[in-house]
């Protein structure tokens, strides 16, 4: 058996860790653990010099295992694995101890934090003793892509891919392409026709030899792994077996139901309408009240369902500008009508948007600020002889007055919500949701379109509220990833899958039902279970269910975890 030579590196992360953890002491103590050849601390392990230090040490000290104690492995595990690889060491001979997100940032007692950090590093060192080299496998990429969602995001992504000569299966739940943009009249801030954007996209998609469109279709389940997914979809009474290498999820949004806010009396008062309804009226060139007459006073209320903890805490990002756009359009359609904007903060942040706000404010629009977190405006029917239909009563923040806004029509700028079926799609393709049902990206900054599942990308409003340009940017960004992988032709797949020790497996078949991916099958001849490593996603549940211990969850083996637990409690150097 080879001699185990472990290098341990403790990161300062500037002051992020060093402030709360005595990193030098940790390194010094860890150096005394069995098999630890070298233990160092450094300001930024993830930086170029930091990584080079590891590479150099691996070569110089013949290290065969490395532990880095720094931030969360979710951030830098891959970085350091790469460094190991650069040094010619198998990248799985590595373990990370998270002493930033889970130590220095969450504790305020330096001594306790240091003890905890030390424990975690001991655990990691103990664990890494049992790590084994795993070889990356690469698989060929099927150049076809499935795009879920036929809105502007999905269409843009599909075209970007198809224009490079790749097959795209575009799956849309409804009977039409175009999504929400199809209901929009003009775009902001340029006041361009939304149809001018959408119709060419639809035309191109429908006439593209590489795009197959499936309308009225939903996805139940997707099998496989990056580069080689497959799914059976039902469309128009027929079943199609599709095989594809990547997935872009662009399921879009659903508008908030303003009926949930009782003070707005939506659907109780006839002329309280949503932004979508107004959009339709503008498209039809006919902005009228329910009784067919022309409204003399129109009020637009912002943040309906947004920025309020009772509904959604987040900002829906587009409503401010949509509302300004409405003001412009209404001014054009009904020049004499009084317009009121009841807003919270005017979020005109995009290119040309602040200027659009300024030009709109010249158009005789009354801007009124309300407290979107406090008492929401109350819309009630006005008295007969008031000269207007409804009164909107609230506290106006810029003047400090309690006021009533007279209105014949009230437009509610409804929030964007994640699509109601986001959850099911997430399950089908194996991605996660964040708290408010939007999909969670791999990294909020550097990887906004990738997910934690390889080969599955998210784009557009399913990831969070967004306007059209930002959605399209994301669609293209997702396409870029896929195009790059198609150009490479192969992709490396995770090897931390489960594996059956056939010498031990007794064929009880307990494991088969456990696997959610049907990756385990039973080999009648050998009387053992077999894991299809390509289907396996490495959750390790079967490993725990196997009564004989015949299934090993690679990189999370019983041995490794048990030794990590031992390490956490190893008596050596308890005190600091």
């Amino acid at each position: 058996m080879e001699e185990k030579r472990i290098g341990v590196y403790v990161c300062w992360c500037g002051t992020n860790i060093a402030k709360m953890v005595d990193v030098e002491a940790v390194a010094a103590k860890i150096a005394k653990l069995p098999n630890v050849v070298i233990a160092k601390d450094y300001k930024y392990m993830c930086s170029d010099p930091g990584q080079e230090m590891i590479v150099k040490d691996i070569k110089e000290h013949k290290l065969n295992r490395v532990v880095v104690s720094a931030c969360s492995p979710r951030i830098h595990e891959l970085t350091f694995r790469k460094a190991l690889e650069n040094a010619g060491l198998n990248q799985y001979m590595f373990e990370m101890a998270n002493i930033r997100e889970q130590v220095s940032w969450v504790h305020d007692n330096r001594e306790e934090a240091t003890i905890k950090a030390l424990d975690l590093v001991k655990g990691a060192v103990n664990r890494v003793n049992f790590h084994e080299a795993l070889d990356k496998r690469s698989v060929d990429i099927n150049p076809a892509t499935m795009v879920i969602g036929g809105g502007v995001t999905g269409l843009s992504a599909a075209l970007e891919l198809a224009d490079a000569g790749n097959k795209v299966y575009l799956v849309e739940k409804t009977g039409n392409l175009g999504g929400h943009v199809a209901n929009i009249d003009l775009t902001f801030p340029g006041l361009n026709s939304a149809a001018e954007v959408l119709e060419p996209l639809i035309y191109k998609v429908n006439n593209h030899p590489e795009v197959e469109v499936y309308l009225n279709t939903t996805i139940d389940e997707v099998f496989g792994y990056v580069g080689n997914f497959e799914s059976t979809i039902k469309s128009g009474g027929k079943e199609y077996e599709l095989k594809f290498g990547n997935i872009i999820v662009a399921t879009g949004l659903t508008p908030f139901d303003p009926g949930k806010i009782s003070s707005y009396n939506y659907e109780k008062l006839p002329d309280v309408i949503t932004s979508l309804e107004l959009e339709k009226m503008l498209k039809e060139g006919n902005v009228v009240k329910k009784d067919g007459s022309e409204p003399k006073k129109i009020a637009i209320i912002h943040c309906v369902g947004s920025r309020n903890a009772d509904y959604h805490e987040y900002c829906s990002r587009v409503c401010c500008l949509s509302a300004l756009k409405f003001s412009n359009q209404l001014r054009s359609a009904l020049p004499e009508t009084n317009l009121f904007q009841i807003y919270a903060d005017m979020r005109a942040f995009g290119k040309g948007c602040e200027e659009f706000y300024a030009s709109t404010s010249k158009k005789d629009v009354m801007f009124l600020m309300y407290d979107q977190q406090g008492d929401l405006p109350r819309i009630s029917k006005a008295e007969e002889d008031a000269g207007y239909e409804m009164g909107i009563e609230f506290y106006e923040k810029l003047s400090g007055e309690d006021i009533i806004v007279p209105a014949d029509m009230v437009v509610l700028m409804v929030a964007m919500e994640a699509h109601e079926e986001a959850k099911e799609v997430a399950h089908a393709v194996g991605i996660s949701l964040c708290g408010n049902e939007f999909y969670i990206e791999r990294h909020p900054k550097l990887d906004p379109v990738a997910t934690t599942t390889d080969g599955v990308y998210i784009a557009g409003t399913c990831q969070g509220p967004k306007d059209i340009p930002d959605s399209v940017s994301q669609a293209k960004a997702a396409a870029a990833r896929i195009l790059a992988s198609i150009a490479r032709g192969t992709v490396e797949v995770e090897v931390t899958t489960a594996v059956v020790n056939e010498d031990v497996c007794c064929g009880c078949q307990t494991c088969i039902k456990v696997c959610p991916y049907t990756a385990i099958s039973f080999d009648e001849e050998k009387n053992v279970s077999v894991v299809n490593e390509i289907l396996c996603k490495g959750c390790g549940t079967c490993g725990s269910a196997c009564p004989t211990g015949a299934i090993r969850a690679r990189h999370f083996t019983d041995e490794q975890i048990l030794s990590q637990i031992e390490g956490l409690f190893s008596k050596e150097m308890q005190e600091v």
Binding site: N501, D503, V504, C505, C506, G507, C508, Q509, T510, I512, K513, V514, F522, N527, T541, S544, A545, C546, P547, T548, G549, A550, D558, L562
Partner: protein
């Protein structure tokens, strides 16, 4: 064969039922072969030897000792240590020596608890003076001693170094003979610490019942609660069977007798704690996602610890009840 010098062999009975010794006798006519190949230098149940005879032996005098039974009292321990000293190959023979066995269940209680029950609270006991066994009793004739009754039951290897384990309650006699013959013939011996006389695979591998992946349990049943067709896997019928987590080698005798496996052969090398493993596997099979329903189903298993650790409590991770 006769040219070869006879090996010296000992058999000792610790905290056990005696079944293991009987199993040695169960070799029947093959005993003659054994005797032809080995001298029995110490076997209290069959032949009259005194401890001091053993004490008088040189170290490593005995070639093979089959120690059966757990370590329950000071005498068990003393002899175990003594035999270890005098023996070249010490085999933990049977479940008790291997994993603690049935006596190991004593670890659900402690000395006091056991004494209270045995000498006081059991329904048939009348002991108004609250007499308890004492390690020393002063009599006019001198001091009488009894071995000390330990607080816990231990396996043999928790007391002395063990060379091989031969599991089973009792071990299959055929296996004993195989092992014995291997030693006698000087065949290459497995590495120290190995379990011998049992399979690497678990019982299901030997079990002839039909197994499918339909292991879903909505209700736990006791064996008498099912109408067994003799063919379907017990687990698939809702009966807890330790087969999957228990080494094969016994020939699936219990199963053949339409009784589920109870785990006397102990875990395969890959499972550290057979009880926990089996608990995990069985829990996985429960067919419910509702916490309350799950609890209800689990409540049908009256004694999980006793069920999953019937033979292995002292060798498990949590070896005894915490008081």
């Amino acid at each position: 064969m006769s040219q070869k010098p006879k090996i010296k062999m000992a058999v000792y009975w610790g905290a056990a039922c005696g079944g293991c010794c009987v199993s040695v006798l169960d070799v029947h006519e093959k005993l003659l072969d054994v005797v032809a190949a080995a001298d029995l230098v110490f076997w209290p149940i069959a032949l009259d030897f005194k401890y001091k005879d053993v004490e008088a032996m040189d170290d490593d005098y005995i070639d093979l000792t089959l120690y059966n039974g757990a370590i329950r009292n000071s005498e068990n321990e003393h002899i175990a240590k003594l035999l270890r000293k005098k023996t070249k190959i010490l085999v933990a023979y049977g479940s008790c020596a291997h994993m603690g066995g049935i006596p190991g269940l004593g670890n659900f209680s402690d000395r006091k608890g056991i004494f209270d029950r045995a000498y006081q609270t059991s329904e048939s006991t009348v002991n108004e003076e609250k007499t308890r066994p004492q390690t020393e009793t002063k009599m006019p004739e001198g001091t009488l001693t009894l071995p000390e009754f330990y607080n816990d039951v231990k396996t043999l290897d928790q007391v002395v170094d063990v060379d091989y384990y031969l599991p089973g309650c009792p071990p299959q006699t055929e296996r004993l003979v195989e092992v014995f013959m291997a030693i006698v013939t000087g065949a290459e011996l497995p590495p120290k610490g190995s379990v011998v006389g049992a399979l690497e695979k678990t019982l299901c591998d030997e079990c002839e019942r039909e197994k499918t992946d339909e292991k879903v349990i909505k209700e736990f049943k006791r064996p008498w609660e099912i109408e067994d067709d003799g063919k379907t896997c017990f687990l698939e019928q809702g009966v807890i069977c330790m087969g999957p987590a228990t080494r094969g080698g016994c020939g699936a005798r219990c199963i053949k007798g339409n009784a589920p496996c109870r785990g006397c052969y102990g875990p395969p090398s890959t499972a550290t704690d057979p009880g926990a493993k089996m608990m995990s596997a069985i829990a996985t099979m429960i067919d419910s996602d509702d916490p309350e329903e799950i609890e209800k189903i689990i409540d049908q298993v009256v004694d999980p610890a006793g069920t999953f650790y019937r033979f292995s409590l002292p060798s498990s991770i949590i070896r005894k009840t915490i008081v």
